[in-house]
Amino acid sequence: MLAWTIYLSFAGALAEALLPKSRPALARWFALAVAVAGLVLAAVGFATYGGHGRVVFADAAWVPALGIRFTLAADGISLVLVLLTGLAAVAGVLFSWNIEQRTNEFFGFYLALIGGVYGVFLSFDLFLLFVFYEIAIVPKYFLIAIWGSTRREYGAMKLALYSFVGSAMVLIGLLTSYAMAGSKSTGLVELAQANLPVSAQMWLFPLVFVGFGILAGMWPFHTWAPTGHVAAPTSASMLLAGVIMKLGAYGCLRVAMSLYPHGMDPWGFSVLGIGSWRAVFALLAVIGIIYGALVALVQTDFKFVIGYSSVSHMGFVLLGLMTLNQIGMTGAVMQMFSHGVIAGLLFAIVGRIVYERTHTRQLAELETMNLGKRMPFAAWSFVIAGVASMGLPGFSGFIAELQVITGAWTTSPWWAVSVAVGIVVGVAYTWRALQKAFFSDRHTDPHLNEPGHELAAITWPEVTGVVLLLGASLAVGLYPRVLLDVVEPAVNALLAGGVR
């Protein structure tokens, strides 16, 4: 049944192209219906997933001559990410309610993107996974380039080229592993069992890990992320941070780490204390966490703050993966979910709720607008979202980051200590942005409080979207077992089956 999330989204994308162009409202409601249906399917699939391990729900020969199969399946990790995609998709439609220009096309590209994302999370054939991965990237370009804002064409092209360089690296890995395994199958399970020679894994692992890592915002290949986020229309930056970056992290876990576990073995020598690819990528992740946070601290554009905070938060995911222990990797998956929900919410507040009413994202200008009083809903949503983003207990971010740090501590205390610095800076930049944007009482223009200067009222799609995302973060924060129960067995299976 989960397979229908994919089919439905693509069918929806096609239908958007055929709906009458003169009725944007119809296109909106239709997109919302498709997204909600996807979320419902994902939720039902999540709730009814009883067993542990992999549930295959579609498996057919696709290209028999080359052993390529159409294999759709899910384990605990896929399920969590499918659920996240469903949430992000619905919220994204709600926050694009104001798209008036070329509405049909917008939602067409949007749903195609969502379909591709569902596909990646559910594919258990590497070829199929790659196909969906690329399908998810192309609409991204058009969403940003057509409906974006600041330097949109530059941001969109940069994102597209970074993504395609990454996917070219993945494709080289895919082709080589396929040929090395005897050109018999591209199934993830079959390739993992093929036991590729260690020498090959040693170069395939970094190649594919970096290939996917680019999309996960891995430092120093992260520079597409802030420009892309800022250029993108609100819903696209929500998806970008919410699910597209997760595609990269998911690929790192599902492909690079599962297929080439020996690529993480020690090299046999060490340079400056780094003796394996695992240590290299853990170091990059730690740098990403701290660097992203520090850069976020000095941004003048509100959206750039969130953009760099995404780089910082995705560092936790990559670090969690590199701990190679149960608690750290579980934390990485939890962080994927948590960051997906919270970053989506932050982008929604900044890019939609605030920007649509103030027409600026410059913190210096927002400072003078007394938004805390004039827009209490936005202010308080941002307070809660910011608190969640800092990783306060009660929200999903807390449990995720706690697990990553615990996992990192067991592997190398240095990682954990450095990350703690990142968290402190994280509190600082969130606080700074919050204070400047909403609660600054300096320079307030007194005229703004007079009649005639009211900001437009908050609309129902905005309230619904905020409630949906905050609710999800809060629910997972208060009762993390709802996700942990499915993630932990899946991580254990991965650790036992390939990744040690």
Binding site: P64, V131, A168, I172, Y178
Partner: protein, 514 residues
């Protein structure tokens, strides 16, 4: 051989020739006073019927091929790669003819269609020929047709200029080819490809190894021109830019299929020279091993192809980045695609795997390019130019046309689930199936990296069509037939990409009985 057999085997070519003559008679004899549109439709329809008749003749052609007296080797193949390539050529010719319906670059419709059909005849011959003389005759028939087609827009200076460049380069490369052929004949004493490949390993021939290398370089220079591989590519951008759109489409599709089919014939003949004995043992046959450092035909041939492939990929893709005219952009992209294909030929498999992968690639590439030139033709007619600016706002001016362009260009860039991605994957997987050496993996990595580069210039066109604002909002008029053909091509590109096994198994069926 008897004449009846010869007739049956060359029936497809005969059918095309008959159709060409019929078109001339009908157009020049019966329709002299008719409107241009009527003449175009009638000529194109007759041409299409000719192709269908030729296809019918292909299906009933006897298995085994034509064997000339005094020889045991096939001179004209009717099975395997030859049959696949011939079918592809006919299909692409039909599509080109459909695109002609909406054109107005010439009043000499009958001649244009007749020349296309005659060039296609040459293509069929090249695809099946296994004998140097037949190959040369076929190639010249094809090339002469292409020169004429390029020059057909008589009112356009660019067309004449393109044709004269194409003709001069072509004439010179034909001379190279013939020179190389003469050495091959001199060394081995035969004109049959299969006999030549065996003859190379006789002691006498091995003593002449340096001459053989000269011959290989000469032959490859001649064929490199046909497939527009760097450094023999200089004609391509001008020809693609100056030729009338249907002619350019034909040059870029059907003629490319024929040339690559010929390269496949050479590769297959080389590997099958001792039927089942692979290249390495062949070296030791004939008494004196490795005379004069001669390592055999296959390694030398592969090395040359690898060089051509690498240079073509790099130059084609990088030069395309700088183009401002979509036709020139397509020309450089064609050079890049030729590079990928030459890589497939350099690491060629004994089994039909590589041949199938190459034919799959070139056919789907041809299909996509015909469509692309169709779109360019329509845009040119509406705006008078094929420069990038002409595509501004196409998604508003003609949503269908823009959607077709989107599908075709993304396919050329190799984005799944479109057929271009599948073709690339299949081709590169075939290369790695032959060799997992560092060189092979490195070349595949280069090819994949270069196709990531190619996305940039394809996106430049799509950006004009979808993202940037239109300067002119008037809708673009598209002839219903043209639009239908373009939509069919785009649908084919999507469908074949989603279900690659369809064509894959269709092709495999041609090799099943071999």
């Amino acid at each position: 051989m008897n004449y009846w057999e010869l007739f049956r085997i060359t029936l497809p070519e005969t059918m095309l020739e008959i159709a060409a003559l019929l078109v001339l008679i009908v157009d020049l004899g019966l329709l002299r006073k008719a409107a241009l549109q009527t003449r175009l439709v009638v000529a194109a329809l007759l041409g299409v019927l000719g192709c269908i008749a030729a296809q019918g003749a292909l299906v009933v052609a006897p298995a085994g091929g034509l064997i000339l007296p005094g020889s045991t080797d096939v001179a004209l193949a009717t099975m395997g790669s030859a049959a696949v390539a011939q079918t592809c050529i006919l299909a692409l010719t039909v599509l080109t003819l459909f695109l002609l319906v909406n054109s107005d670059f010439t009043r000499h419709v009958g001649e244009f269609v007749a020349v296309i059909l005659m060039a296609a005849t040459g293509g069929l011959l090249v695809a099946s020929a296994q004998d140097l003389l037949l190959i040369f005759v076929g190639l010249e028939l094809l090339s002469l047709g292409l020169y004429i087609l390029t020059a057909f827009a008589k009112r356009s200076g660019a067309s004449a200029e393109a044709a004269i460049k194409y003709y001069l380069f072509g004439g010179m490369s034909a001379a190279f080819l013939l020179f190389g052929f003469s050495y091959l004949y001199g060394i081995t004493g035969t004109t049959n490809l299969h006999a030549i490949m065996r003859g190379i390993y006789t002691p006498n021939a091995m003593q002449a190894a340096p001459l053989l290398y000269v011959a290989l370089v000469m032959v490859l220079a001649g064929l490199g021109f046909k497939v527009a591989a760097v450094p023999f590519h200089l004609w391509a951008p001008d020809a693609y830019e100056g030729a009338p759109a249907p002619a350019a489409a034909f040059i870029a599709s059907a003629s490319k299929v024929a040339s690559f089919a010929l390269l496949i014939s050479i590769g297959t003949a080389a590997l099958h020279a001792f039927d089942g004995v692979m290249a390495a043992p062949m070296v030791t046959m004939g008494g004196s091993c490795c005379h004069g450092g001669f390592l055999g035909f296959v390694p030398a041939w592969s090395k040359l192809l690898i060089v051509l492939a690498g240079v073509s990929m790099i130059v084609g893709n990088l030069a395309a980045l700088a183009q401002t005219n979509v036709r020139r952009l397509l020309a450089y992209s064609a050079i890049a695609h030729a590079g990928y294909l030459l890589l497939g030929l350099a690491f060629f498999s004994y089994t039909p795997r590589s041949a199938q992968a190459i034919l799959y690639y070139i056919f789907t590439y041809g299909l996509t390019t015909v469509g692309a030139f169709g779109v360019v033709g329509v845009v040119e007619k509406a705006t008078g130019s094929a420069r990038l600016e002409a595509f501004l706002g196409l998604s508003k001016r003609s949503p269908m046309l823009a959607a077709v362009l989107l599908v075709l260009f993304l396919s050329l860039a190799g984005i799944p689930p479109l057929v271009g991605f599948w073709a690339k994957f299949n081709l590169f997987a075939a290369v790695l199936g032959v060799s997992m050496s560092r060189l092979a993996v490195g070349m595949v990595a280069l090819a994949v990296a270069m196709s990531a580069v190619s996305l940039y210039y394809y996106l430049q066109v799509l950006k004009r069509a979808y993202v940037m604002p239109a300067v002119d909002d008037r809708p673009v008029e598209v002839h219903p037939t043209t639009l239908m053909v373009l939509v069919v091509i785009a649908a084919g590109v999507v469908l074949l990409g989603c279900f690659p096994a369809l064509v894959q198994s269709w092709m495999a069926s041609f090799y099943a009985t071999m």
